[in-house]
């Protein structure tokens, strides 16, 4: 059961996205043996009320093999009700945040309050390090999320399941201590673009159980991250863990 923990659906405002529908998603997943995934709304990133985007996403993925991840901007009032409604109506499996787009610190009181709520509801937090290579951004220049801030944040939340999305090799290495010592901290594969044998290099320093497969489809090429794992010269059981086994924790909530 291969799973993709980093999927987006919706309209990306900065360039044409050719494969933007649920049917496209299903097709690329099927072609690569992936049976489901955790989906967030692109629209929710940009709508002033993110929940409107999640209402749209629910209409698209309800009753499908895809699990809904709610987008929250904790600097907006009322997100607490969004989570409750998301649980009741959408059966959400987690919350995703975009500090570089919504311009706040992970160390802010609002994020602390969000983390406390997620622990109460036993929901994981998906932290988006970036969506676009910063060099390729257009119009909107996002605020960088420093690894030092990320390290301090995850260290303060040892009892919360956290998945870091689109984090790169060097950044992972800078967080080696936290990733290996915090049992509920994970990262996805969508940022593993640097180095020819990046998974092999990672596994010399990081436990394989910390890596979960995430593509960031449709902004990124799914086949690229699939190859990064599938073509690695590592054990088949290790690959299976990355592609799906390690993501089981996401369903215990």
């Amino acid at each position: 059961m291969y799973q993709d923990v980093n999927v987006l659906l919706g309209h990306w405002p900065f360039r044409k996205i050719r494969k933007h529908t649920l049917e496209h998603l299903r097709q690329v997943h099927k072609e690569n043996g992936i049976s489901g995934g955790y989906v967030s709304s692109i629209n929710s990133i940009f709508y002033n009320d993110p929940f409107d985007g999640d209402e749209e996403l629910h209409e698209i993925i309800r009753g499908t093999e895809y699990k809904h991840i709610l987008t929250v901007n904790p600097t907006l009032p009322g997100w607490q009700r969004d989570i409750v409604t998301g649980i009741e109506r959408f059966g959400i499996h987690g919350v995703r945040i975009y500090p570089t787009y919504h311009d706040y610190s992970l160390l802010s009181p609002e994020v602390s309050e969000l983390c406390a709520a997620l622990k109460t509801y036993q929901l994981p937090l998906f932290v988006t390090k970036r969506l676009e290579d910063e060099r390729l951004e257009y119009i909107l220049k996002t605020k960088p999320l420093d690894v030092s801030e990320l390290r301090q944040f995850v260290s303060g939340q040892p009892d919360l399941d956290i998945v870091l999305l689109n984090i790169r090799f060097n950044e992972i290495m800078a967080m080696e201590k936290e990733i290996n010592s915090l049992p509920r901290l994970y990262f996805d594969t969508s940022g593993l673009k640097d180095r020819v044998f990046v998974v092999e290099d990672l596994l010399r320093k990081i436990s394989a159980e910390k890596i979960v497969y995430g593509s960031q489809h449709p902004l990124y090429t799914l086949k690229s991250t699939f190859f990064v794992v599938d073509k690695a010269e590592i054990g088949e059981d290790v690959k299976r863990g990355i592609f799906g086994g390690h993501a089981r924790f996401l369903q215990r909530g």
Partner: protein, 249 residues
């Protein structure tokens, strides 16, 4: 078959870079590597000489697999001699320009004219960045300027010009510009966009190894391409580009 037109011996680290290039060739079935040596952004003459010597050594150690680009900094007084040594003595297949000057800097003109004489391609680092643009870092605009000044020059714009919606737009009307999508960006739509704009016949496969490889391979496999277009990008276009009997009309 895969011909990778954009790889490096990086940072002067011969052992590590060549080991990775050879291992990747074994694992992924790469038939030919075109290699240049790069280290500091603004190298002195001795550094360039050393980097080119490394590439020549790699070529000699693996004939048939490894071809070389002669790396030249147009600011150096001996730049033309470096190019002549690379092509004539080292049997290198093309010239590499990086970030010492914009590619349309007049100091590059004698080098370009010599490459036309040799009928070898020029691989040009090109990267338009929203953040971190280097002082003399070429973008698609500079490549287009050079292409129009020298329509007989076979130019290869690297990285789709960084942001393809900038680079490809600049060069799409220049028939003497080929494009590679080497490097680490692997956005889902970039290759489809490039094919729509310039056609599959002016796109060649490059990775930027040892910096990246699998993400580039995945891009070709997932793009909306026919098998014929994939083969053109994987190797056929490169064979034509590096054929010294193939001249632009």
């Amino acid at each position: 078959m895969i011909i990778d037109v954009h790889t490096h011996i990086w940072g002067g680290d011969y052992e590590s870079s060549t080991r990775q290039l050879l291992e990747a060739s074994r694992r992924y079935g790469i038939s030919k590597l075109y290699v240049s040596g790069l280290k500091s952004h603004y190298p002195d003459e001795a550094e360039v000489e050393s980097l080119n010597a490394d590439v020549h050594r790699f070529m000699k150690e693996h004939p048939g697999l490894v071809e070389g680009y002669c790396y030249v900094s147009p600011v150096h007084a001996n730049a033309l001699d470096v190019l002549k040594r690379g092509i004539e003595d080292y049997s290198m297949a093309g010239m590499k320009l990086w970030v010492a000057t914009f590619c349309d800097d007049p100091r590059a003109f004698p080098l370009v004219e010599q490459c036309i004489e040799y009928n070898v391609p020029i691989l040009i680092h090109s990267f338009h960045k929203a953040v971190g643009q280097l002082e003399f870092e070429t973008t698609g605009i500079h490549v287009a300027n050079l292409a129009k000044r020298y329509p007989q020059a076979k130019l290869l714009m690297a990285h789709f010009g960084g942001n393809c919606y900038h680079g490809i737009r600049a060069t799409r009307d220049c028939p003497n510009v080929w494009h590679d999508f080497s490097g680490s960006p692997f956005r889902r739509d970039d290759l489809d966009y490039a094919v729509e704009q310039v056609g599959a016949s002016r796109i060649v496969y490059g990775s930027d190894m040892p910096i990246a490889y699998l993400v580039n391979w995945g891009q070709v496999e997932e793009a909306d391409l026919t098998q014929e277009e994939k083969e053109a990008i994987y190797w056929k276009n490169a064979v034509q580009l590096f054929d010294r009997n193939y001249r632009l009309s």
